[in-house]
């Protein structure tokens, strides 16, 4: 189904009624799984992702090769050598997550690439050098896909790592950015768009950005569509800005959960915890 992008110029509204710089509804929870060391659930629009973190633990028996991991999905590790914890990411994409009900096998290269990206992005933020000879297992489950999958995976993994209490430099927050009108139209007036849904992702050029905290430093930049080089700057600027918004949202989720846990008495209200300023 081709997306009718011509209507955008009339009302400056996108297919789902958003303006160019609006994120979709983001809903996130942490500590959803009692059994895990850290867990999270994240919705970005209709993209729904669950994440479970175990570790840092002693690595299990060595499995042959890097391509080992969660059942049905791909698993890829990074780090490991030289006194650092290895981050093993496994991604399971549920068969019912998208419209076409595709089966994703173990060796699916796209899934492996996603897993490797999440693993390498987090490796840059987590202080893995504090846990030599150990392993951090991140298991991601995709329940529903509606665009910005990689961004949702990175955000969910970050939240779960916060929940697991793994020391990290800052949040790694991700989102997507795109551009109105396709690559063929060398349209100078093309507007950048924030947070693409599935339909927009299919039709328009877009990229996924992940930044470290509030800085302009880009940890992940993935562009999989053809786009004029002149439009990269605009898209990147919008993407980085979106990541900052996303960081605020993730931060709020963590703080709200923290306050609730103190109220419920799960955590003793200690000396340091009283100083958390809520805004």
């Amino acid at each position: 189904m081709p997306l009718d992008t011509s209507t955008y110029n009339l009302a400056l509204l996108r297919v789902d009624g958003r303006r160019w710089n609006e994120l979709r509804r983001v809903h996130a929870q942490i500590r959803t799984q009692a059994a895990a060391d850290g867990s999270s659930y994240l919705e970005m629009g209709h993209t729904k992702v669950m994440c479970v973190v175990t570790g840092p633990t002693e690595p299990g028996p060595r499995r042959g090769g890097a391509a080992a991991g969660g059942a049905g999905g791909g698993g890829v590790g990074s780090g490991g050598a030289g006194g650092k914890a290895e981050i093993v990411v496994g991604i399971v994409i549920a068969g019912f997550s998208s419209v076409d009900r595709k089966r994703y096998g173990r060796g699916d290269k796209r899934t492996l690439e996603l897993a490797s990206t999440v693993s390498n992005a987090l490796a840059a933020s987590l202080h893995t050098n504090l846990f030599p000879h150990s392993q951090i297992n991140i298991s991601l489950h995709v329940l529903s896909q509606d665009g910005s999958l990689l961004a949702a995976l990175i955000n969910a993994a970050t939240l779960a790592c916060v929940d697991a209490g793994i020391p990290m430099t800052d949040y790694v927050a991700a989102c997507t950015a795109g551009s109105t009108s396709t690559y063929a139209a060398n349209d100078e007036g093309a507007d950048p768009l924030l947070d693409l849904n599935h339909q927009e992702e299919q039709e328009l050029p877009g990229l996924t950005v992940a930044t470290l905290g509030n800085s302009d430093r880009v940890a992940v930049l993935v562009c999989e569509s053809r786009v004029q080089i002149s439009r990269l700057e605009g898209m990147l600027a919008v993407g980085v800005d979106g990541c900052k918004q996303m960081r605020e949202i993730l931060d709020r989720v963590v703080r709200e959960k923290g306050v609730r846990m103190i109220q419920e008495g799960t955590v003793e209200k200690g000396v340091g915890l009283g100083d958390i300023d809520m805004d």
Binding site: K109, A121, R217, V220, R226, I229, L232
Partner: protein, 293 residues
């Protein structure tokens, strides 16, 4: 499977330290490629790329098959990458390492998904017969920057390739041998090339092109940009690694465009040379008695 051996502490430290003093171990500038050589084989569609000590061989082939049921009007185009133990003992046949998966995805996104080859032109009879074009990429030796070399080899092989001519006459499909009719080139739309930046330093502030294997082992992050000479980005992949300032990334894309134009010229030049070499002066000249057998 033997594990990849890390470079020694001395090497790691020296590479980083030398880069801080604007020095690379082989004396190159930061934005300088190693000597790049491209040769074509006797057959159509064989390209051999050497980039310093890295060497890649790509071979394009075509056969007539049945198109996929969901895409009856498209031909089939696949890129197969293989990193064999010949390249490095840590690679194993039939068990793709992370390097191989990422390389094959990058080539897929750069060449196939960017629509460099017009797959509709490969269709012979809608829903029944089509060409299946396949490029096999073999890494013969690995001294870093497999991606850029492999991408160049794939593009060069496909542009050099000629598939047998065909004709449709009253519902009968005829495929001609090279002797009957001159083979025809593929319908090629644009030539994308990969340019890989490697980042060094605490905040990835030092960006270096065409890293050697040792540099690749020491780097803190990398970013592969694929462009064609018209300035269209086909894909960007910075898959994790130390965060790099967005401005630096934009500058890198700008420099990459200049490099891509150089690659494009190189491939064009080599193709013209190859054409000249093959051109024996027409059909009559080829039939002369004093020619080599």
């Amino acid at each position: 499977m033997p594990r990849e051996v890390d470079p020694s502490l001395n090497e790691k430290q020296f590479v980083t330290q030398a880069l801080e003093e604007n020095l690379r171990l082989d004396g190159r500038e930061f934005d300088q490629y190693r000597p790049l050589e491209l040769t074509f084989g006797e057959q159509y569609g064989v390209a051999d790329v050497t980039l310093g000590k890295t060497r890649i061989l790509a071979k394009a082939t075509a056969e007539v098959t049945v198109p996929y049921a969901d895409r009856p009007l498209d031909g089939i185009f696949t890129i197969a990458t293989e990193l064999s133990p010949m390249t490095s003992p840590s690679f194993e046949v039939n068990r793709p390492t992370e390097t191989e998966v990422l390389l094959s995805r990058l080539l897929e996104k750069t060449v196939r998904r960017s629509g460099a080859l017009d797959t509709e032109s490969l269709c012979l009879v809608a829903g029944q017969k089509c060409w299946s074009v396949r490029v096999d990429v073999h890494a013969l030796s690995h001294d870093g920057n497999l991606t850029d070399a492999a991408c160049l080899a794939v593009v060069a092989a496909l542009r050099h390739f000629r598939k047998p001519d065909t004709s449709m006459d009253a519902g009968v499909l005829t495929v001609y041998t090279p002797a009957e009719r001159e083979p025809v080139p593929l319908s090629w739309l644009h030539s994308p090339f990969c340019v890989t930046w490697s980042f060094f330093g605490e905040e990835g502030e030092t960006a270096v092109l065409d890293a050697t294997w040792l540099e690749e082992q020491v780097r803190v992050g990398s970013c592969t940009v694929s462009l064609n000479r018209h300035g269209e980005i086909c894909q960007i992949a910075k898959l994790g690694g130390t965060p790099v300032n967005a401005v630096v990334l934009l500058q890198c894309t700008g420099v990459a465009l200049a490099k891509v134009k150089e690659f494009d010229e190189l491939v064009d030049r080599r193709l013209t040379e190859d054409l000249k070499r093959r051109d024996k002066g027409g059909f009559m000249a080829e039939l002369r008695a004093e020619n080599d057998r």
